[in-house]
Symmetry: C2
């Protein structure tokens, strides 16, 4: 079996942890598997390099920033290969140039385009564990690029896809994907399996287990992903196309507190007004989430929508500036809100799911301010103060508890 | 004019020094020159990386060590390019892969074989200062190599040769090459010019201004080298083929305290005995320096020679083991000795130079134990305790004092 294993920066932060990872990889190697390891920079290395750059030139070109940052992973992979050698196993480290991980030229947020497999294949054939730098690539000019935060997940999946690996294990500090955040819902249960689409919804909703781009890539190329802990040998959660029995209607509950609601009151009930509003926000890179439009009355209507709380200030500034243009008489906003979502691939084919969620919230007196639904997700906007008890109630209502 | 400028690790150890180097390079750039800058790793970076490697695996493969070490220069060049950009100048950093600096595969002590010039040429044509990693290369397997300590000097000279640069400036913490070590001979004078051969003798004799391989390379390709201080704008010393007037008979005096004398007594006066002795030492990588053979008497002879003091222990062990084989009755050795040399291209064509040196030593009662001469050098072995006053006396005798 060919296995790609990815470890983040905290998993290689010091000698002891480097050796833990080395031993973990050697276990599979000694079972006869081929092992490719993808690593991030050690601990806070990347932050340290960014601070150094900021000291020299706060407006440094992104090309030079990437040239600087890629040294971080190169240190990790060289030290890891040394640790494996010390444990008596043949290992070799490779950087983005040596593998040839081709990206576009968007320094700092580059996208992987193609990964050459020959060098890795040759080293595997020579009986070595291959340790590869995550997070980085090379563009057509032969310059170094980085994939942005969380990019090492993407590197691991792309390498797994290019090598037709049997699985791609992403090691994190959690055991896998849970039905809800165990810090909030104590009886949350670890999911043995989720689909790519569910995983994407979990990631979008703030359960930051996997980088979104890596899940999209895994879905595109059918790479079997496994999310598991670097601290123990628990099975973890398998992310793959939905082949599971339809027993679990709802896979999990997730909350997102980085949200705020804005309402525009008394807008003219004419075509094109909503477009004007949302286009203006989009032009300023502000993403709109849930949208609610009141039924027109007396020739006016109200529009409410949510934005990321971090975008609230900019949104308000744009609205004040364009209030006449948007034909609104005034605006309101609310910061103390949160989104609560249930996620599950079986949702659409099972009526009554939304009703059961709303009933659970109603039973404990939680008011629903807005509603949004997708194929595999139902999201409601509620007061932020209600998040914890709402999450628990919904979790219980769908019986997602441990067996 | 195309100028290659090389700065060592201490010249780029912190923000202030990085900016000093950046400004110094920009001065030339703004005069209309093309500038290529070669840098070592910042301050003690290389030592730090070596310590990290030793912590993980004291017997790490040299291939992985080089993979680790090359990150040091990459950090330097990226930060330097950022500093130049902050000063409003277009600059770009390049590593060994991006330039393509081809070496053999002798990890840790690799030899440069060829440097591609196209990328550097393109960036110069685009009006940029090009900042290149010293000390490193890429072998035919696409793996990273390092050239060994002092290798950045070699990188600079090799790039200057490949680009047909007009000059190659090596910046150090001294003003240039002196007639003697100014800490020992207070009235020592800075030499405006020396030949490649003289520079090689100075380097070999412990005046560690330039790495020997870089001088050999400069000689081979006729690269005009300039040794100057990174701390001031003094002219420095030009190293080039000997076109200077023959005014200065002797360019300088240098001492080497890393030496020891060994004597083998009562060897058979037969052909092949000396060969046996020196061949045995050579097979164990022990270099012999001055050799003195007594005239045969009673069918026996004595042979004395010097080795580096750091090789003394190994030499003695070999001699004890082979005493019968070498037909010697016994051996002696002396550790408290030093070599004192005068160096000068005009020496051979001027008789009486050796006599003047010996007279100066005799006048102050310094005993000469052994003598060795080359085309441009006369070396004597003396007691180590006499080095300082011997150096001053010889320096005075040849009137090498400041004007």
């Amino acid at each position: 079996m060919l296995i790609v294993k990815k470890f983040g920066g905290s998993s290689v932060a010091d000698k002891e942890r480097i050796y833990n990872v080395a031993r973990r990889c050697i276990e599979d190697y000694q079972k006869g598997h081929e092992v490719v390891v993808v690593l991030s920079a050690m601990g806070k290395t990347t932050d340290g390099l960014l601070a150094k750059a900021a000291e020299i030139n706060p407006n440094a070109s992104k090309r030079e920033l990437d040239m600087l940052l890629v040294t971080g992973e190169q240190v990790s992979v060289a030290l890891m290969a040394m640790a494996m050698q010390a444990l008596g196993v043949s290992a070799i480290s490779l950087n983005a140039h040596q593998v040839m991980m081709h990206t576009n030229s968007a320094y700092g947020v580059a996208k992987l385009q193609r990964i050459d497999t020959q060098r890795i294949r040759n080293e595997l054939d020579a009986g070595k564990i291959v340790v590869v730098t995550g997070f980085q690539g090379v563009n057509r000019k032969d310059d170094m690029t980085t994939l942005g935060r969380g990019g090492s997940d993407t590197t691991a999946v792309a390498i797994a896809a290019a090598l037709h690996a049997d699985k791609c294990e992403i090691f994190t500090d959690v055991d896998g994907v849970y039905t809800a955040d165990p810090r909030i819902v104590p009886n949350a249960r670890k999911l043995p399996e989720v689909t790519y689409s569910e995983m994407l919804e979990f990631a979008t909703l703030g359960a930051k287990v996997l980088h979104n781009r890596s899940v999209e890539l895994a879905k595109k190329y059918g790479v079997e992903l496994i999310v598991r802990s670097s601290l123990n040998h628990e099975e973890g959660t398998v992310v793959r196309e939905g082949t599971k029995m339809e027993k679990m209607l709802v896979s999990g509950v997730a909350a997102d507190e980085n949200t705020a609601r804005i309402s525009l009151i008394g807008m003219k009930d004419e075509p094109g007004i909503a477009f004007k509003l949302f286009n203006t926000l989009a032009m300023h890179n502000i993403n709109i989430d849930i949208i609610l439009q009141s039924v027109g009355r007396d020739g006016t209507k109200d529009i409410s929508f949510t934005v990321a709380r971090t975008d609230l200030k900019d949104s308000i500034a744009l609205i004040e500036e364009n209030l006449n243009n948007f034909t609104a008489t005034r605006y309101e906003y609310e910061e103390d809100v949160a989104k609560l979502s249930i996620i599950g691939a079986g949702m659409t084919s099972n009526p009554g799911v939304a009703a059961r969620m709303f009933e659970a919230l109603s039973n404990i007196g939680v008011n629903i301010k807005m509603i949004s639904t997708s194929e595999i997700r139902i999201t409601v906007l509620i007061d932020r103060a209600d998040v914890t008890r709402a999450m628990r109630a919904v979790h219980d209502a769908f019986e997602m508890v441990s067996a």
